[in-house]
Symmetry: C2
Subunit: 204 residues, 2 copies
DNA sequence: TTTTCACAAGACAGCTTGTCTTAAACGAGA
DNA sequence: TCTCGTTTAAGACAAGCTGTCTTGTGAAAA
């Protein structure tokens, strides 16, 4: 029998909408009960979808969480960081970038926390998405360190590599969350502390 | 029937040894395969103990991991930190304390990583032990910040509270591990970077 | 109308935790 | 020595989880 060609359109749109509904269900579940374990079955019921559908779309539980992580990190909230990077003054990029990423981390704190901890425990789950995000930050901070050096803003006793390490550490979700959750500080206070810390540490 | 009085001695010693064997089995398991999930059954077989015995002694899976965390944190490896604290020069306490805790974190890195991530996901499991350890560090860093202030070593634009926040952040396992594992640095390099970072950030 | 896709529904094997019951092993006291 | 009580082993059991597979159905595309 000859196979027909299909142009999806409406069908594909419905599929995409199903996918979104599942991702949103996981996100909401993590927001509302971040400390409780999430089963695929619970997600399926919340998204009004059969459990088998989730396996069909995402392949596995790990694939589902990887998709959630990718969705969270590749979507919204980064405009602030991007406009900061666009600033020609490297020191302003640093200040504004840290403030913007603190805002972003705070907005999705609980979900971030769960996804990062899951990734640390099991590289399979969400490893792809988290590693991609880390890698992007690695590149960004190396670039920023070089810009600071080019503009003569680095302390003379700090190499470009050292500056990149410190920048990477300071702009991590963990650094933010240690102060935000661990010390109960407000977003503004965290941003102020991190900016002061990194400026004193690497800038002249 | 009248109840007899029993003084355990030998039996109690054996019980204590059983407890130790179970804790060691978990520790070894986490060391050898940090990324794989650990079931109570696996631990029982490794410790040559019935699964029911583990529930008898520790109450639950969470209780077991809490005991492992407590055992890890309350036992060995802190001599270095203690001698650093004993140093009358606050700046030397800071330097030596960070170096010593980096050594300690590195020695048990994988086990620490698993226990901390588990605590972040599920406050029940290991929450007690991890929270106690954090609380102790909170006290220690507040004290150190005050000592630095008393000895006139703080930057004039840094309050004692701010210094405590930064010290707490810098001496956390996460800060260590971000550089050690996340950036692939050696223990010495991590210690050097963290010391330089915190000194520039809060010391005059 | 017929084909094909998206999905529902549910059975299944295999693993997990936590509880409970029964029996054995063995040191301490009589 | 003999008996009592504590510690531990052994294992059955319910309940929940993941991952796979099969079968059925409604609807868009040809």
């Amino acid at each position: 029998m000859a196979t027909r060609k299909y142009e999806q359109r409406l069908r594909a749109d419905a599929a995409e909408e199903t996918r979104r509904r599942i991702l949103d269900a996981v996100y909401e579940r993590l927001r509302k009960a971040p400390t409780q374990a999430v089963s695929v079955d619970q997600v399926a019921r919340a998204a009004r979808v059969a459990r088998s559908t989730i396996y069909l779309i995402f392949g596995s539980r790990a694939g589902l969480f990887d998709a959630v992580a990718a969705d969270l990190m590749e979507r919204g909230g980064f405009e602030g960081v991007r406009t900061a990077v666009a600033n020609p003054d490297a020191r302003e990029t640093l200040r504004e970038g840290i403030r913007a990423s603190c805002e972003y981390f705070a907005a999705h704190r609980d979900v971030h926390r769960v996804l990062f901890s899951m990734a640390a425990l099991d590289p399979e789950a969400t490893a792809g998405a988290v590693q991609r995000s880390d890698a992007r930050r690695t590149g960004g901070m190396a670039h920023l360190a070089q810009r600071l050096a080019d503009q003569g803003l680095l302390r003379p006793d700090v190499t470009v590599d050292d500056a990149a390490h410190i920048l990477w550490l300071t702009t991590s979700f963990d650094a933010f969350d240690l102060l935000y959750t661990g010390r109960g500080l407000s977003v503004d206070e965290v941003a102020r502390l991190l900016v002061a810390n990194v400026e004193h540490a690497i800038c002249r």
